[in-house]
Symmetry: C2
Subunit: 111 residues, 2 copies
Amino acid sequence: MAKQSEEIMELEAEVFNALAHPLRLKILERLRGGACCVCKFIPYVGAEQSNVSHHLAILKKAGIVRCEKRGLEVWYGITDTSIFKIIDMLEECVISNLKRKSELLKEMARR
Amino acid sequence: MAKQSEEIMELEAEVFNALAHPLRLKILERLRGGACCVCKFIPYVGAEQSNVSHHLAILKKAGIVRCEKRGLEVWYGITDTSIFKIIDMLEECVISNLKRKSELLKEMARR
DNA sequence: TTGACATATGACAATATTTAGATATAATCA
DNA sequence: TGATTATATCTAAATATTGTCATATGTCAA
């Protein structure tokens, strides 16, 4: 495997890793409506402020979100909205996988 | 947030997590050409047999691959090829992110 | 049946991630 | 200036992930 694609894969793995947590997926859901300040995420995801801040830092490090200071607040927004397409496609995958499994169960019950 | 979407997000996070490792992305690259037996992955990814086996189990648990015994060998294949579209889209994201950053650096150097 | 083979599994150490609580920082306002 | 607010950072404990080694399992062939 070419050195270059190995390096790209490391970056890809880092981004996938940033997406690999329910709390971070929730934060991204909140961002579908546009940028907002940290204080909005806290009740939305139902976690400690320091924890939310930590997860935001992970999303930022992966390049998925960017932030900007506005007075006392820090506003976070999506860097590239095509991340939503990726999440949506994965959701479809997961749901069709669930359906496939439940069909299989039904078939087994029938016998 | 609805209970149901929380549960879907957990599943999504699990699948993203399965994608979040360079070695597993390599395994999936090898599977683009179609199903193959475990022995093919070992030299391809350059890891110990037991390690490859562990990573295959993670991909399988997430529902990304499925396997089948053929004599002594075990053949692994993709469950749903739309996972490749997801990986491809993420690669595009990563690459355009890199480009954006390098543009920014160029601009800063110009000043 | 025995041995060889391909793969999976279990145990373990090293490392990373997650969370909460305490504290630091930086901006605003009285 | 000092108090207040929003957010980030540090610390430490709990937990999860990773890689390696040793071993188990299941299949085939002699």
